[in-house]
């Protein structure tokens, strides 16, 4: 049997969105580890350390995908709200982490994220004032689907296998 994981799709909200560009995956992993060690002690840190990693970090939207072993993902999940600032090379950046979705595979998280972003765009459309804005949002709504994203990746990975 394979080792099963849980993927936590989170939203990283910073006080000043400009700081997002400076944040790396290493920073996030370090701060999450520290938060687990603080809230759940040595036991929690050791239980989560086995396969804790950041699978995806989008510095433009602040979306974050964390991976953890299935047995102890609740320790990770419960310590995320206690992160109130990120330590980035000596700087303290006030922030908080919203958990959007917990999934068993990266694919379900990706599907959820697309649906979530679609809903956000629909909400934006409601608040639109002029026609040009509305048209731009409509176009981006039509362009979001998993298929157009997946196919080029699939072709790429096939090519790599052949090589």
């Amino acid at each position: 049997m394979r080792f099963k994981s849980r993927y936590l799709l989170c939203e990283l909200v910073l006080e000043d969105p400009r700081w997002r560009q400076n944040i790396s995956q290493g920073t996030v992993v370090y701060n999450v580890r520290e938060a687990i060690a603080r809230t759940h002690g040595d036991f929690g840190a050791a239980a989560c350390a086995v396969s804790l990693s950041v699978k995806y970090l989008n510095v433009y939207t602040g979306v974050l995908l964390l991976r953890c072993r299935k047995d102890f993902y609740q320790l990770l999940w419960s310590s995320l709200p206690f992160i109130t600032s990120l330590d980035n090379r000596g700087q303290r950046i006030p922030c908080f982490i919203n958990t959007l979705h917990v999934g068993g595979t990266i694919r379900t998280c990706q599907k959820f994220l697309i649906q979530y972003n679609k809903n956000q765009l629909l909400q934006l459309m409601k608040n639109c004032t002029n026609a040009a804005e509305k048209e731009a949002i409509r176009q981006s709504l039509q362009s979001c689907s998993l298929k157009s994203l997946e196919e080029p990746e699939f072709v790429l990975s096939k090519n790599e296998e052949n090589e």
Binding site: A37, H40, G41, G44
Partner: protein, 136 residues
């Protein structure tokens, strides 16, 4: 709600006036009680009840973090001569408490360990220890 909910009372049929009551608890008990003893390697240190509680809580904090140290935990009695103590902890924290007591190794540069003598969901059970019975 009926305060005796979940309890079953059985009145045994006895002819005489001496009758006893059997109470069976059907739901899991809220607290667990632990009788523990602190042991030092060689020369030990003197502790007060407060210091002992601090020692236990800091052991919990080391192993289980802030979540562990915020468990409902009470020190019911502490004997400064024998270093025996009775702890009360809510049932979901029993494993956490026990594991952190096991991994405790130091108090103020003295090597020490905590021996768990008895553990029970009923405080009355700690009153007598069958291992200390004097059998003829």
């Amino acid at each position: 709600m009926d305060p005796m909910h979940g309890r079953m009372r059985e009145q045994p049929k006895l002819a005489g006036p001496t009758s006893y009551e059997r109470i069976v608890l059907k739901n899991p008990s809220e607290h667990h009680y632990m009788k523990v003893q602190l042991e030092f390697n060689g020369e030990g240190a003197q502790l007060s009840a407060t210091q002992f509680k601090l020692l236990v809580v800091s052991a919990l904090k080391n192993l289980h973090g802030e979540v562990g140290s915020s468990l409902p935990l009470d020190l019911l009695s502490f004997d400064e001569k024998t270093l025996c103590a009775v702890l009360r902890v809510c049932s979901r924290g029993l494993v956490k408490l026990w594991s952190s007591l096991t991994l405790l190794g130091h108090y103020k540069n003295h090597e020490c360990s905590i021996r768990v003598i008895q553990t029970s969901p009923f405080l009355l059970a700690l009153a007598g220890n069958s291992r200390e019975l004097d059998l003829e």
